[in-house]
């Protein structure tokens, strides 16, 4: 896996970056347009509606931000696991467990005088829940030697099952059991929000701090360095007196913790209840975000914002063009693939160039 080190881009690099980004974008646009044509849809309208549907009004932008927050949180968390070379696919389940723990705490606070306390507590609980869930996968990897991808994936399905059981069982609404989730929480247990936009500043703040903390940790802290080193060559790190497995677990905890907080925000900030799809695939999507950001913490928030726009805007497709909104996913996937292809292509071109020059030298 390519682990990018965090380098401050100089003007030349920036120019190259822009050029490659342009190339990538054209590739993607061509591909998506093709797909749209296959589906017999007017491409330009499609793009237009997605744009309008995501940035067309303040309300829409607030929806985008609602999606941006969990994506960024998960993205930040994933940077730790990617650093040490772990594929934390289990992040989806970690979001869910965060949501479950948050719901549990809020339920305890249902008829207490100080709801705010429980609201605050729910974040800690969520981080804990996500972290523990991640630890399970971590131990399966370090102690049991189970590939983290399968461990994580399995845990995701288990978490999903757990949520369903809670919703249809212990936490079901009186009489009814329905996919629409548990009984909605009273306003007092909602995360405070700007009523006109139904958007809570606290959530935004959390996401931003997550990014900053991660940046500092990875760049300046010893832990960050160790993660990178172990990711590069865990065997050698033993010589430097490090214990790779410990750091793996640590990284998993970080990822799980951030994911858990994202889950908590989904409950207390967005849905105000627990529902089966509480994680909304943000975990999986965050994996793409981080890949597309080339594992660079500063790029993550922007990519996350872009992806959020696609997600929110694509709801216009079924409304205006009778298309399925899953086009968003197609575009996101295509973007990542195209980036990989372009960077690889650059690498090859460099190699070929070198070879030619050497031939010239030799002759």
């Amino acid at each position: 896996m390519t682990m990018a080190q965090i380098t401050s881009p100089g003007p030349a690099q920036l120019l190259k970056f822009v050029r490659e980004f342009g190339l990538t974008l054209t590739v993607v646009v061509l591909f998506t347009t093709l797909v749209l044509l296959i589906a017999g849809a007017p491409p330009l309208d499609a793009y237009f509606y997605i744009l309008k549907g995501s940035l067309g009004s303040w309300v829409k932008i607030s929806h985008v931000l609602k999606t941006w927050v969990p994506l960024t949180l998960c993205g930040a968390g994933l940077l730790y696991t990617f650093r040490i070379g772990l594929w934390n696919i289990g992040i989806e389940g970690q979001v869910m467990m965060g949501a479950v723990f948050a719901t549990l705490t809020l339920r305890l606070g249902l008829n207490s005088q100080w709801p705010m306390w429980f609201l605050g507590l729910s974040f800690a609980a969520a981080a804990l829940g996500g972290g523990l869930w991640a630890l399970i996968a971590g131990f399966l990897k370090t102690k049991g030697g189970v590939n983290e991808i399968f461990a994580g994936l399995g845990m995701n399905f288990v978490a999903q099952g757990l949520i369903l059981w809670l919703i249809f069982g212990p936490w079901k609404r009186p009489g009814v059991a329905s996919m629409s989730g548990t009984e909605i929480f009273p306003q007092s247990l909602w995360l405070p929000y700007i009523s006109s936009l139904r958007l809570s500043p606290a959530a935004i703040a959390l996401a931003v701090t997550a990014v900053l903390i991660t940046a500092v940790m990875l760049r300046y802290s010893r832990i960050g360095l160790c993660l990178k080193a172990i990711g590069g060559n865990s065997q050698a790190c033993v010589l430097y007196g490090l214990t790779p497995t410990h750091f793996m677990l640590l990284a998993m905890m970080f990822a799980g913790g951030f994911a858990g907080i994202a889950g908590c925000l989904q409950v207390s900030g967005v849905y105000h209840r627990l529902l089966p799809a509480i994680s909304s695939n943000y975990g999986y999507l965050a994996l793409l975000v981080v890949m597309l950001s080339n594992y660079n913490v500063w790029v993550v928030p922007f990519v996350a914002f872009f992806f959020a726009c696609l997600n929110v805007g694509s709801i216009q497709l079924p409304m205006m063009l009778q298309l399925d909104s899953s086009l968003a996913g197609v575009i996101q996937g295509a973007l990542v693939l195209a980036t990989l292809a372009v960077s690889a292509w650059r690498g090859r071109r460099a190699k070929i160039f070198e070879a030619q020059t050497q031939e010239a030298v030799a002759k």
């Binding site: 999903q160 249809f168 069982g169 079901k172 009489g175 909605i184 967005v270 994680s279 709801i315």
Partner: protein
């Protein structure tokens, strides 16, 4: 006529847009498609109206999307009336209704008006599918050779309970009164999959449940879910040479392409009631109501008057047909009321005393399945 004409004239000035939130795909050959086509029916019959719809409004298909968010969008697009077509949209609709007091909301199959949780701009509408289900059960009982009828249930709530129960009542009536058989020989199994349609890894797989029904000797499966698995599987089994039948649900066209196995389909025809309510909204004579419309007994399949209908499937035998005709007639004249005591719940507790016939509320809020039915009465 003059009034109507002026109404049109005024409407023509500016389009009356109404938004439609469909829980499933608009083309699911089931519940959602029935609403979708009702929307078109309105566009056709009430000039000056225009539908904006969005389908698959459910957490599994549109993760991260909330009802209020969609309503915001529809209102922004100029919708004056919002129709939410699933019980699962209850909270979202209520929240949105509170947020947009000047917009009218029509929540299908909800009961917020009864419970008084909703504001003045929200109306509940439901069709008395009980009758349709009775007919379905009747047809099934008339047809089954093994005396074992399977009911493919969605999730457990009042609505699904009462529908399954009505189905059973219809079946039992046919079995006892028409076929003159012992009720003990009639097996009526309800299996809940967990939602209105299949969500892999979340619900039980309706395809497998249906297959399992047929593999274990149930030769008629009645679908209570929004999608067509029952008919599809029945078709497969028929290809394998098994004599099996199925009764789909919700949508008038559900039997299309499955004539060999389809006994008929109880369906919703929302067109008329939509028209009525939208006219009200346009005319400004809107008031919150709790509506529960039944069939038009003059002709239950009249597209312009009847909210509930039942079309016969090609696989339905002739004597079954004639028996069903009289059954429907008797229901229509009220000569026959199946929700009439003595009826007791699954656990034996009494539901209706002898001779007492149930009130709407009693039926709407049934607490359990009825005695004689197998399957869970409530989610664990």
């Amino acid at each position: 006529i003059v009034a109507f004409a002026t109404g049109v004239a005024s409407a023509a000035k500016e389009q009356f847009k109404f938004g439609l939130l469909l829980v499933g795909p608009y083309n699911d050959h089931g519940w959602s498609q029935a609403h979708y086509e009702a929307g078109h029916y309105v566009e056709k019959n009430v000039s000056g109206t225009q539908m904006i719809y969005i389908d698959k409004v459910n957490p599994a298909d549109r993760p991260g999307v909330t009802i209020p968010q969609l309503v915001d969008d529809l209102v922004e697009k100029g919708a004056k009336l919002i129709i939410a077509n699933s019980d699962d949209m209850k909270d979202g609709t209520r929240e949105a209704a509170a947020m947009h007091p000047d917009v009218k909301f029509l929540h299908i199959s909800g009961d917020d008006v009864l419970t008084g949780k909703s504001g003045k701009n929200l109306t509940n509408l439901m069709g008395r599918m009980e009758y349709g289900k009775m007919m379905a059960g009747f047809a099934a009982a008339m047809t089954t050779k093994t005396g074992k009828i399977g009911y493919l249930g969605p999730l457990v709530n009042e609505e699904t309970r009462r529908l399954a129960a009505s189905c059973y009542l219809g079946a039992r009536y046919a079995w006892e009164k028409v076929l003159k058989k012992d009720v003990k020989d009639l097996k009526f199994q309800v299996t809940w999959i967990g939602f209105w349609f299949n969500i892999p890894g979340v619900t039980a797989d309706p395809t497998q449940v249906a297959q399992n029904f047929y593999d274990t000797g149930y030769d008629v499966v009645i679908s209570g879910i929004d999608t067509t698995e029952a008919v599809v599987v029945a078709g497969q089994k028929r290809n394998e040479g098994k004599k099996v039948w199925a009764v789909p649900y919700d949508y008038v066209g559900a039997c299309d392409g499955a004539s060999a196995v389809c006994l008929g389909v109880p369906y919703f025809n929302w067109g008329p009631s939509y028209t009525e309510l939208i006219k009200e909204a346009m005319g400004g004579s809107w008031s919150p109501k709790w509506l529960w419309y039944g069939p038009d007994w003059k002709n239950i399949n009249d597209p312009d008057t009847s909210t509930i209908g039942f079309v016969y499937g090609a696989a339905l035998g002739d004597d079954a047909k004639s028996a069903l005709n009289t059954f429907i007639a008797d229901l229509g004249t009220g000569k026959l009321n199946l929700f009439k005591g003595p009826l007791s719940y699954q656990d034996g507790t009494e539901f209706l005393k002898t001779g007492v016939s149930a009130t709407d509320k009693q039926i709407w809020y049934m607490e359990q399945l009825l005695k004689g039915m197998d399957g869970q009465s409530s989610a664990k």
